[in-house]
């Protein structure tokens, strides 16, 4: 069986790496990673906005944001993919590729989950920070931009990194709408070979494992360094410590 694994890898490594490129759209791991990076980068500003909206005392901002977050937490990603696949062509007027659909879905879904991470980071800072900034004359948004968010986001870097790992795992659902990412590529291989499904999916699992595990390790190491740094700075800082959980907020599909 081990020889099968090596044979399959040797024959199909290009497909797994970049899909049909250049004879087709970019696929494989490259597609997975690009989708994940774009997804989380674009989700980031949305998440900050949602977090601020959730923390705001104005119901007009607070309620819709809270509703959005609860919907993302309560509805399966697959269902959201179906919605986006259906709604986006309606809204723009023409069809979009599976890649774009998946990207929009990820931005929305991760935006909601990241919003909770950002919110936790903001709430974990001592109240004194905001008070000091306002006492110096900063507006609420100014204080957020210059004082609160920089600190909160730095502290939440490990959590964000693990949300990134979640995003990578979520890209596998693109398979259902024919996004040519890694899982799709593996299924293509399996449909060609037909006789070695276990080996093919074993390879698929191992690849994801290596990628995600290394990133998780990096997140844990980062968390340790940040905690050490904060302990050094925190000499006179009272207040609750930020939650150092590296576990993602259950976004794993």
């Amino acid at each position: 069986m081990l020889t099968d694994v090596f044979d399959i890898l040797r024959d199909n490594w290009l497909l797994l790496l970049v899909g049909q490129f250049p004879n087709g759209p970019l696929g494989g791991i490259a597609c997975t990673l690009i989708l994940s990076v774009l997804g989380i980068v674009l989700a980031f500003p949305l998440s900050v906005a949602l977090a601020l909206a959730r923390l705001s005392p104005w119901r007009l901002l607070n309620w819709p944001a809270t509703a959005l977050v609860y919907i993302a937490r309560g509805v399966p990603l697959l269902m959201i993919i179906l919605w986006v696949y259906f709604l986006v062509p309606l809204l723009i007027g023409h069809n979009v590729s599976g890649f774009v659909t998946m990207l929009c879905t990820l931005v929305l879904y991760e935006g909601a989950y990241l919003a909770e991470v950002v919110r936790a980071g903001i709430e974990a800072l001592p109240n004194g920070q905001m008070e000091a900034a306002r006492a110096l004359g900063h507006s609420h948004l100014g204080a957020m931009r210059l004082v609160i968010l920089p600190q909160a986001l730095f502290n939440m870097l490990p959590s964000m990194l693990s949300q990134f790992v979640s995003t990578i795992k979520e890209t596998t659902l693109g398979y259902v709408i024919n996004v040519p990412e890694l899982t799709f590529a593996a299924n293509q291989i399996n449909n060609q070979l037909l006789t070695k499904p276990f080996q093919v999916f074993f390879i698929l699992a191992i690849i994801y494992f290596v990628v995600c595990w290394s990133l998780t390790r990096a997140a844990t190491a980062l968390e340790r360094r940040i905690a050490a740094r904060r302990a050094g700075l925190a000499g006179a800082k009272p207040g609750k410590p930020a939650p150092l959980a590296v576990q993602p907020l259950s976004a794993e599909p």
Binding site: G74, E170, L173
Partner: protein, 233 residues
Amino acid sequence: MKGFDLMAILLNPEFRSMLVHGLQVTLTIAACSWLLAMALAVVLLVIRLSPSRITERVVAGYVSYHQNVPTLVQLMLWYFGISSLLPGALQGWLGEHSGEALFAIIGLGLCQAAYFSEDLRSGLRSIPAGQAEAARALGHSYIGSMRHVLMPQAVRNALPALVNHSVSLFKNSSLAMAIGAAELTHAVKEVENQSFRAFESYLLATMLYLVFSLLIMAVGAWLGQRTRVATAR
């Protein structure tokens, strides 16, 4: 596009029965895999607490695998991969007796067991050391102190995480669609195909999912309330 007409779906008995059946399959998969996951999580925790380094590594490896490989890939590995390794007669039997749902239950159960056991483990570790000492000082055995003092507190500590992961488990039941199980998302796609009313059918399914997810969260919050008075420090 036709006008919005929810009743066209709700009043049609065929569509209704497809959705109801899909919901049943979803709830069955979710409930069975939850039970499997919880039972296995306790077993994993007990194994991990044993002094042997080897068992600790094995369980750590199990958890690491299930947390780093996407759930969809895990289900595919079970349904396409492992089933192909089974003897032919068993494969035939599974084909006739909704093997998709069964593999979904096994796959999801094993995956979430990893998360649940980590939650319980964190819950256990957040108990102050004095608790175990006090229990031993009173003469309780290791098992006794676990049963009466430590595990009750561990579960209470782990409750928020356990509830979160339970909601995840429920949502992940939709992944079973990718391996052919006739659960709710699959049913919704079928209804959409036949009725051409994507918006209405999606809306129904979304509301059903939301209702149950929020229900799980509400139960979790209620349980948390009941035990919070007792353990607030």
